[in-house]
Amino acid sequence: MSDRGYVLVWAALMVLLGATVAASYLGLGRLGIALALGIAGVKTLLVVAYFMHLKDEERLLWIAAASGFIWLALLIVGTLDEMSYRALLP
């Protein structure tokens, strides 16, 4: 990627940083959480694809990269799902 490309990615990251901070002042509650995580996810994808060059790598590396996040998603979703049932039990 050219220097200009890297700087453009950086600029996008800075804009998204501003968006994250601005959105937090909107007081959106549960939607705010999803929005914050969503913006962080987009920033992560930009860093992973362009700065870490995953876009140019083989699918095998994509699988290795994705596996960590998939297992983390299982951990968090599983934990929160279990906890959300506690209030319902007698």
Partner: protein, 209 residues
């Protein structure tokens, strides 16, 4: 056209990158355990977590995020120079990255100092009046452990990037792709990604009340 030496270096670097990505997957779960802990306690005590988070300095946290994002840019530029065989230019960008990382630590250190002074460190001196006292301690405990673990990773990153800056500046990077630099670059971007999530989760949940 690349020489046999460059082709060998490229194959070595590709193999090293695969191993590095697998290592980073384990690191995702290393930090991920703490994020899961955070998610669980925030789910239970979201109100107190918001109150506690409001005591963190959003401006300093935001500036630090910008510092780390910029350091990822400079590392990417360094790797780009390295791949084009411009070793001493790569050294310059690696040195810049190390300086930005040091700036991050300086800002973090100042934040920690303020937390000590304001009695927000979980322990006998802890004093936080709002919300439930237990969950407030949990929030600040998570704050120090998560940012502390991250800061340790930043220190290691500075040692790696700084060391490679010297290697690069003296023209000793491998032609084509240098496996050491490629792996250090991936490590640093990972450290940046962890902070990309830490910042909104710790600093921004108490902003709008």
């Amino acid at each position: 056209m690349q020489t046999t030496l460059e082709a060998e270096a490229r194959l070595g670097a590709e193999t090293a990158r695969l191993g590095m990505w697998i290592f980073l997957a384990t690191e995702v779960l290393f930090f991920g355990g703490l994020f899961a802990c955070y998610a669980a306690y925030r789910f239970l005590y979201s109100d107190t977590f918001s109150l506690a988070s409001a005591r963190l300095d959003v401006l300093l946290g935001g500036v630090n995020t910008a510092v780390l994002l910029t350091s990822s840019l400079t590392v990417a530029l360094a790797v780009s120079r390295s791949r084009r065989g411009r070793s001493s230019d790569a050294g310059f960008w690696l040195a810049a990255s190390s300086l930005l990382a040091l700036a991050f630590l300086a800002i973090k250190g100042s934040e920690y100092h303020h937390k000590f002074v304001e009695h927000l460190v979980p322990g006998p001196d802890f004093a936080f009046e709002e919300g439930s006292p237990g969950p407030a301690r949990i929030f600040f405990g998570l704050y120090f452990v998560m940012t502390g673990l991250h800061a340790i990773h930043v220190v290691l990153g500075i040692l790696l990037l700084g060391g490679l800056a010297v290697v690069a500046y003296t023209g000793r990077l491998r032609p084509g792709e240098d496996a050491r630099l490629e792996c250090a670059g991936l490590y640093w971007h990972f450290v940046d990604i962890v902070w990309i999530f830490l910042f909104p989760m710790l600093y921004l949940i108490g902003v709008s009340r």
